[in-house]
């Protein structure tokens, strides 16, 4: 039994084992198949993503082209409209400058610009006429005229024909020069137009009309747009430019004040007087020493003179003080505006930052609220519950109606369930509504804060108003001053006439007084007559009204009398007609009465007219004086004359009249001359600054070192880039469409356009030519280039990061030493290190010999190919690691130092280990920052000439390959070989290969750029 049992047990155990094994097998298979499936799906996703990115990039290219074409169309139409406008609203010189450059500049006395424009036009026309036009025409048919041998009697000399290369170069140059010509043409027109606009400045009004809408737009932006930071930037720049102008104008005012101080008339007078007084004192003192007899008088005289001097000096000081006070005031104003501008800039910055933060918060909250609402609305649970509850209540009601026993257990059960459900609903609702209410309250509070901030922030308009004020004041300053000069001039030239009037009218005062008295009497009579007229007028109105009322009453009476007989004449039509007529009369008179003003109004009107008349009479009566003194009357006459004939305003006339008896002929002449001189001086010094004239050349030149500094900075580099980088690139792109190759090498042979022949040759060359095996060579080099670029970039990147992490690890000493050892490979010129390593690894180099000795097998680095030169390729990649890692190490160690330390500390507090820290903080940071670097590295590796050329020179060579391509040749070294080969250079095909390299680079970098974050946020780093 026992045995049996044991056996049974064993067998059961065995069964179990078998079972578990099978289960495990099954599980294993499942796991295997699952992992396979996972792998397949992920692989499929990867491939699909590649296709998607391909499609997206093509789509983006097409949309880009579409957008660019639309943009260019819009630009062109706008440009043309602008030009037409500039032609229409311009003077003759401005219109002329459409054809003859610089005409308007000459007219506006900007000779430097005018000469430049003029010379440019002449030079350009000369250039086109001499050889530019020829080479432009030659661009269509490159190289038509071959060099020919010419026999002169005995000697033979070769006459050079077209050189295709030069034709292409100069054709391109003249094409470029057309663009430059258009640009300069535009510049000359614009400068002429702006000069015209400035000279015919429709005062500052136009300026304000131009500026204000912009500022309002910015304000709108602030109020409406949610992108506060962006609008802030615009505003910031605007404020800066505006504040510059404001400061400039204030400085001008300061200068003006200082000038005024120096050229003050009163001061000069006082100075003269002081000198005279001092001289007098000196003379008196001398007299005193010579004649002692009359000492007393002289002493008194001297004392009085000294007192006079003292007085004069005090006067001078007060004048100086007042002028100084003015200057100080303006200086303070400048200080204040500086401070204010600084403050506003800072404050606006803070404001916008705050606004942006608040806005973000508010939007988040609102989003939350909406989410919650959606939750609440969509929750099926509640709906179900509600419907359930309704059903339940219905059933209960039914049962009650049917007369169910109230205390029956079923009913109680139902009631309990209903209560439960209702309480649940209540709970849910209270929960959601509470949350929503809270969030809504918060959002409202924040939006209130935002509104407050918007209301309190200093807008652009405020700064602008300050600017407008200053610009107006500077405008007014000049014109006031000039006006004053003119008035004084006018006054001095009419001085004797005025004096005559004055003296004549002195004797006429009594007559005048009499005539004025008469006038007064007449005035009073007139006034009384007017009063009577008014009274009678109003009396008439009142009477009319009373009469009308009487008439109305009469008509009413008639009507009522006729109406009494209504019952007797029920069918009489004539009677009814009469009745109607009477009623109409009543109504008409009633209407007339209503049309008249009410009694109250009539009374008040009457009163008003009376008071008006009285006031005007009083005014006139007051003005007409009958007790003029002689001088008073004379000056009044003069003022009247000045107001009527010389067009002075009353205040200046009144102030000038006081001078009328003071001067004689000589002083008037001197004063007049002084005034004229001062006026001319002032005009010369300040006209350019205050009146609207074009900027002078010096100012324009100075702006090249201030607001237009970037022109100066970019001029030389851009000229270099355009003429020696972009032009050659255009040239080489064009060469790809020519047959520039062996047999067509200028100057003795020529080449012409061949269309897409070179690209065709790359893929399907004619079978019997030298290029027969070109497609295979292209395929091998292209695939190796891509593989090389990928492996080289990522191996350098990953290993570099690993080594950087190792060196920078805590507890590793001699960090500097390790780093310098790695950096050695950057420091030594690459061709030295690469050439020597090339020698070292070759079969007869030290390493090659050592390898052959130990493994009994030659390494064959770059010499004979095994499997597509695999050994050479692997070694090249290893050497590239040797060369390339240090860059990555340097960069990543710099980045590692830049990672904020707080991140690590806070993560440690949250319980992250070193591994988690590495994967969650260090790597993402490094990858984010070095994204663009990876792309440039990738492109750099595609074009990595040095490593391949110096290590293997493209070898091992492929037997019978086209144009001597080797296994390790990249596209770029292939290109080099094609171009430099002595007997069979293929420039056209080289250019085609270059274009293919460009397309590959562009495609890859577009794909990578669209995914890297650091590039897209270029501005946010600043």
């Amino acid at each position: 039994m026992l045995e049996k049992n044991n056996i049974k047990l064993d067998s059961s155990l065995e069964d179990e084992n078998v079972f578990t094994k099978e289960v495990r097998k099954l599980q294993f298979h499942e796991i295997l198949s699952e992992s396979l499936l996972n792998f397949l799906t992920s692989f499929g996703k990867f491939i699909i993503s590649i296709f998607v990115t391909l499609g997206l990039t093509f789509a983006s290219i097409f949309t880009g082209i579409y957008k660019a074409s639309i943009k260019s169309y819009l630009f062109l139409s706008k440009f043309l409209k602008l030009k037409i406008h500039q032609f229409k609203f311009n003077d003759l010189a401005g219109r002329l400058s459409f054809f003859a450059f610089g005409a308007s500049s000459f007219k506006n006395k900007q000779y430097v610009n005018g000469i430049f424009y003029c010379l440019f036009e002449v030079g350009y026309i000369a250039f086109l006429a001499l050889f530019g036009g020829k080479s432009l025409a030659g661009l269509g048919t490159l190289g038509t005229k071959l060099p020919t041998e010419v026999w002169d009697d005995m000697f033979c000399h070769v006459e050079m024909g077209d050189n295709s290369v030069l034709v292409l170069v100069f054709g391109l140059l003249s094409l470029f020069s057309i663009f430059v010509f258009l640009y300069i043409w535009n510049r000359s027109i614009v400068s002429g137009y702006s000069n015209y606009r400035i000279v015919h400045f429709l005062d500052f009004k136009e300026y304000i009309e131009y500026v204000m809408p912009y500022s309002s737009r910015v304000d709108e932006l602030i109020n409406k747009d949610k992108n506060y930071l962006k609008s802030y930037k615009e505003l910031h720049e605007l404020t800066l430019s505006i504040s510059d102008e404001a400061l400039e104008s204030l400085n001008l005012r300061l200068n003006e004040l200082k000038a005024e101080q120096s050229s003050c008339l009163d001061l000069n007078d006082i100075d003269l007087k002081i000198k005279q007084a001092e001289e007098k004192i000196n003379v008196a003192l001398k007299d005193n020493t010579s004649t002692k007899d009359s000492g007393l008088d002289k002493k008194e005289y001297i004392i009085s003179l000294k007192e006079h001097l003292k007085y004069l000096k005090e006067q001078k000081n007060t004048i100086l003080k007042s002028l100084d006070a003015n200057v100080v005031h303006v200086e303070e104003q400048i200080k204040y505006t500086r401070y204010a501008i600084k403050e506003t800039i800072i404050r606006s910055k803070l404001h916008y930052l705050e606004l942006a933060k608040l806005e973000e918060k508010r939007t988040n909250l609102l989003n939350n609220v909406e989410k919650l609402r959606l939750d609440k609305d969509n929750s099926l649970e509640i709906e179900n519950l509600i419907s359930q509850a309704k059903e339940e209540t219905n059933e209960i009601e039914k049962m009650k109606k049917e007369g169910f026993d109230i205390n029956s257990p079923e009913l109680l059960y139902f009631v309990a369930i209903r209560d439960k459900i209702e309480s649940k609903i209540l709970k849910l609702e209270t929960k959601y509504t509470n949350k929503i209410n809270k969030l809504n309250l918060k959002a409202n509070g924040i939006s209130k804060q935002i509104k407050e901030l918007i209301n309190t922030h200093t807008t652009l308009a405020q700064i602008e108003s300050r600017l407008n004020y200053t610009s107006y004041s500077k405008f007014n300053c000049y014109y006031k001053k000039m006006n004053k000069f003119n008035l004084m001039d006018n006054f001095y030239s009419n001085y004797f006439k005025l004096k005559e009037i004055y003296e004549n009218s002195l004797g006429l005062t009594d007559n005048a007084n009499e005539s004025y008295a008469k006038e007064k009497v007449v005035l009073k009579e007139e006034y009384e007559a007017k009063l009577e007229a008014i009274n009678s007028n109003f009396k008439q109105i009142v009477d009319n009204k009373a009469q009308l009322i009487l008439l109305k009453d009469k008509y009413l009476k008639d009507y009522k009398e006729v109406r009494k007989d209504l019952k007797n004449h029920k069918d009489d039509e004539a009677y009814f007609l009469e009745l109607e007529n009477k009623l109409a009369l009543v109504k008409r008179t009633d209407g007339q009465i209503n049309a008249l003003p009410s009694d109250k109004l009539i009374k008040s009107m009457h009163k008003e007219e009376l008071s008006n008349a009285k006031n005007s009479f009083n005014r006139d009566d007051k003005y007409i004086k009958t007790t003029y003194k002689q001088e008073e009357y004379a000056s009044k006459e003069v003022i009247d004359y000045m107001l009527l004939n010389l067009k002075y305003d009353y205040d200046t006339a009144k102030s000038l009249v006081k001078l009328i008896t003071k001067y004689d002929e000589d002083t008037i002449n001197t004063l007049k001359n002084d005034n004229l001189n001062l006026k001319i001086q002032y005009e010369e010094t300040y006209k350019n600054k205050y009146e609207g004239t074009p900027k002078s050349f010096t100012l324009q030149f100075r702006s090249l070192f201030n607001e237009n500094f970037h022109f100066t900075m970019l001029a030389i580099p851009l000229i270099g880039i355009v003429f020696l980088t972009i032009m050659p690139l255009f040239f080489s792109i064009l060469v790809a469409f020519t047959n520039y190759q062996a047999g067509h090498v200028p100057p003795m042979q020529l080449f012409t356009w061949v269309g897409l022949q070179n690209f065709m040759n790359l893929f399907a060359p004619p079978a019997d030519s030298v290029l027969a095996k070109l497609p295979e060579a292209m395929l091998s080099t292209f695939s190796w280039t891509i593989i090389w670029a990928i492996i080289a970039t990522f191996s350098n990147y990953i290993l570099g990061i690993i080594f950087a992490l190792m060196i920078n690890k805590e507890g590793i000493y001699l960090k500097k030493l390790w780093r310098t050892i790695f950096v050695l490979t950057i420091a030594i010129p690459q061709f030295v290190s690469l050439l020597s390593i090339g020698v070292l690894l070759k079969n007869n180099g030290a390493f090659g010999v050592w390898w052959a000795d130990t493994f009994n097998n030659a390494l064959n680095f770059g010499e004979t190919a095994d499997i597509n030169g695999l050994v050479s390729k692997v070694i090249i990649i290893l050497v590239n690691i040797w060369v390339g890692i240090p860059y990555t190490i340097l960069m990543t160690s710099g980045i590692l130092m830049n990672i904020p330390k707080d991140l690590y500390e806070s993560s440690r507090i949250d319980g992250a280990g070193p591994f988690a820290q590495f994967t969650k903080i260090t790597m993402p940071y490094i990858i984010f920052v070095t994204g663009p670097y990876l792309i440039t590295q990738f492109i750099g590796n595609i074009n990595n000439f040095n490593v391949i050329f110096f290590l293997t020179g493209g070898g091992p060579s492929i037997a019978g390959s086209a144009l001597g391509v080797g296994h390790t040749d990249l596209l770029i070294t292939f290109l080099y070989k094609i171009v430099t080969s002595a007997n069979n250079p293929q420039f056209g095909i080289a250019s085609a290969i270059g274009i293919i390299i460009f397309i590959a680079c562009a495609f890859i970098s577009i794909m990578m750029y669209s995914k890297s974050g650091a590039v897209q946020k270029e501005d946010q780093f600043q």
Binding site: M806, S833, V839, W882, L890, G894, V929, T930, T936, I997
Partner: protein, 308 residues
């Protein structure tokens, strides 16, 4: 008992292994070993090259350490060798160094100016076409630079009349220098704009801000650009060989010369050791310069590379 003992030992081992200190020490030791091995590999080719320069004849290249040490290789670079079998490059070495030095100095100043000017203008000014310029720079960078050398050869020959002269190299190196503005621009971007604004409010012009504020603040990037543009001509072969051509030995730069010493079998049998010596001679000052300026180089790379 035995079992318990074993368990104890195992437990001890585990706890020891688990203790953080030991783990850190072990990993550090591992890292030290790796670093030592790798740095040996890094130095080895350089040391080998130095040793080769003291070697005697071409046979030394198959040996790790030459059999006999001579100083003749260095000597005959400057002084004619009486027993020379080939006299192809005799007396040219100094000419090449001088040529390269002139080109390098020229490039150092001119292209540094170009690069800094473009970088500053693009970093601090917002003008029409700024983003267009930046994009254009990206696109231009994707063309292989050698492609434009075909026409540059003609331009130098026909327009500048500098065929086969190293002055044409100066023009070519500096003409496109403005395109390398990326790293300095990244550095300028990190300098706060409020400093500029404060200076401008106090009355400084933009040029004064650049000279008196931005440049002193960006010393590392200035030294970095000076250093890189000085070093570029020493290592460039592809452009210089095509533009100068292989006929004008007087105008060769050092890279062409040293490469030509090795390229031909005829010459390399004699010139191999001289090549090594010449390489060491030009490598030493440049390496030393780089080592002294390393601080600025790293500062420039990281300062600019934070933006890539």
């Amino acid at each position: 008992m035995m079992n318990e003992n074993i368990e104890n030992v195992q437990n001890n081992h585990v706890s020891l292994f688990k203790s953080l200190k030991l783990r850190r020490i072990l990993s550090n030791i591992l890292i030290y070993i790796i670093l030592i091995v790798v740095s040996l590999i890094w130095i080895a080719p350089i040391v080998w090259l130095v040793l080769q320069s003291f070697g005697d004849g071409i046979s030394t290249r198959s040996k790790l350490i030459p059999n006999t040490f001579t100083f003749d290789n260095y000597l005959y670079l400057f002084v004619p060798d009486p027993s020379a079998s080939v006299t192809e490059f005799e007396g040219y070495y100094i000419k090449w160094i001088v040529n390269t030095f002139i080109v390098a100095i020229f490039c150092m100043f001119v292209s540094t100016f170009m690069v800094l000017a473009t970088a500053y203008a693009l970093s601090r000014f917002r003008f029409n076409g700024r983003s267009l310029l930046m994009k254009l720079n990206l696109v231009l960078g994707m063309f292989p630079g050698f492609l434009s050398m075909i026409i540059m050869y003609w331009v130098m020959k026909e327009i500048f009349h500098l065929q086969g002269s190293f002055w044409s190299l100066c023009i070519i190196y500096t003409a496109g220098a403005g395109m390398g503005f990326f790293v300095p621009k990244g550095f300028f971007d990190t300098i706060s704009k409020s400093i500029d604004e404060a200076a401008m409010i106090d009355g400084a012009s933009r040029a004064q801000v650049f000279w008196h504020i931005t440049l002193p603040l960006s010393k590392p990037i200035v030294v970095y650009t000076l250093l890189t543009s000085f070093m570029a001509p020493w290592g460039d072969y592809i452009t210089s060989s095509y533009i100068i051509g292989l006929q004008n030995r007087d105008n060769w730069t050092i890279a062409i010369g040293l490469y030509q010493m090795l390229s031909n079998n005829e010459y390399s049998t004699y010139y191999y050791t001289q090549f090594a010596a010449g390489s060491v001679i030009i490598a030493i000052p440049i390496t030393l310069l780089f080592m002294f300026m390393q601080k600025y180089y790293v500062g420039g790379v990281t300062g600019g590379a934070v933006k890539g």
